[in-house]
Amino acid sequence: MTTQVTQAPSTSSRVKGLFKNQQFILVLVLIAMVAFFSFKNHIFFTTAVFANVLSDWIPVVLMAVGETFVIITGGIDLSVGSTVGFSGVIAAFAMRNLTSHNVNQNETLAIGLLVAVAVGAGIGLINALLITRARIVPFVATLATLGAFRGLCIVTTGGGPVGDGPENAINLTVPKYGPFNGPGLVVVIIVAVIGLYLHKSRFGRYTYAIGSNTFAARSAGINVKMHLTKVYVLSGVLAGLAGFYLYLRLSVGSPSSGQSGELDAIAAVVIGGAALAGGIGRISGTVLGSFILTTVTSGLIIIGVAPNWKQVVVAILIAAAVFSQGLRNWTKGGE
């Protein structure tokens, strides 16, 4: 005698199929939005606006991709916005210093990039140590680093922007390949590679396993603490990249950069279909979720609606995403 899988009733499986493909729904939402904004103001449907959306999308998607890993493990990283700000500010100080010593612009930018990434990795490591060694829950640990590093942004800068860096920084953000600028293309590649890594590699498998059932992961011999450390460092590194991109875009390190960026990141991940309880989430969903967020931002400006409506629209999208998730669980039936 062998055990057998009993088939779920066919009616519910059809409903399930419909809601299962969150990415498909998100694409529909995105198309509907673009259609709506373009209908309201035809200028929306131009490469120039797409370039604006992309430029906003880059820092959001970088934060959100890191956040996706963290949320899949069942954790949360509230510090990504402050990491964006602090990495940008410290990189700006480094680049200002190098520029004042007449270091070549490209070298200065390369070093600035390394500094931003290192700062991000450092903050990620602090989060990881607080969570895995001091055993502070991720929400509280990263809430503390959110406050601490935003505070340090202001202490180190005195509240003002840090300029006098390499002059060609801003040129890098000019669209060169259709609506894409150079860093934008690099980010697309980074996101694609990380997406493959999450869904196809052992690292990704462990990320899901920990969020799905930490005990099972641990009994299977996975070094949960080490893995979580890597995940939070990854989140910090990507936020550091976002901080560097915002530096390029503004050509100053602003202490307020990335402020409340963690909310955008989490919103993008949740709209993308991930569950805060862990174990569920896809990079494609996060990519679409962050696109929807930044499309709303530009769209509302283009059609001339007060930007505060963005928060309302985002709230509705989050509620819809969570609702459809509940629906999917419900249609799963089984037990």
Binding site: G151, I154, G163
Partner: protein, 348 residues
Amino acid sequence: MVLDSGSPGGATLERKIMSSSIKRRSLAAVAIGASAVLATAAVPATSHAAAKLKIAFVMGAESDPFFQAMKVGAVAEAKVKNVDLIWQGDPSVYSPATQIPIADAVLAQKPDGLVLIPTDPTALQATVTKAVAAKIPVVNVDTHVGDLTNVVSFITGDNADGGSKAADAIAKAIKYSSSKKFQVAVGLTSATATTNVARLEGFKAQIAAKYPNITIVDVAYSQSQPAVANTNVSNWLTKYPNLNGIFAIDGTNADGAASAIQAKGLVGKVALVGYDAYKKNVDLIGKRVITALIAQDPAQEAKRAIDTLVDYIGGKTAGIQKNVVIPNFTIDIYTHAKEKKQYTYVQK
């Protein structure tokens, strides 16, 4: 409640609040240390203490370039008038919660006069009452307490005048003529900050009075973030292909607008008038990214405050005005280097 008169970037409510209490405690020690150094610097060891007047400044936030520039003016004038200067304020937090204890500590030193830049009109009223009860005359600078009855003088920059000057600067930059139509947009930080409101009102009033062919096509809010201002302006530049000018109402908006205009390759094509003479933005005038900046004169405000108190204590009350408005200064490409330097805020 005036929160960010001339403060850097987006020194609005959020920023003040962001300065978390975590760091406040450790920085208090730094503040005390720093002020001790300052006090010694301002008081020569050989001073004839009995004869010298002691005037205290209690300002908003030490780190703010606006207050740093004010301090430069205060130190210089203290030297001229031979007074001891006590300069005090929180290192970075613009808030009554941190200012009130500092004000109390300063009053305990029994200065001859107090220059108070209240971070809140209601919360700091008690400080004025206490000072007056101790026979210490009070001058308000930049912002004021709710009830000015017992305040000797209130000295401030004029935000409405600044807005009006910004309109003039834009009109000049876009070569205004009554035979053409012009479009401008205004980047604000928040819909409620009183400085923003006063500047915008001044701007609108001047356009209505003198430049009727200019239409304000859009306003947007930066929430104190240059990146948000950049997004707003990037989209405006796409949405209004014929946009002639942008009025960036503070440093944050100027940062965002300047970078957006540069990235879109519209330097020199779209006029950008900003507010506050931070060094970085003064430099951008040289590169023609920013057309003009409306500079306040915090050093002048400090000078007037000290002069007023010295006169008042000396009994020369006749010339003292209850309300002094220090005019703004417009910096553009034609401004003489010396004046540019004079009006540029000191910044670390």
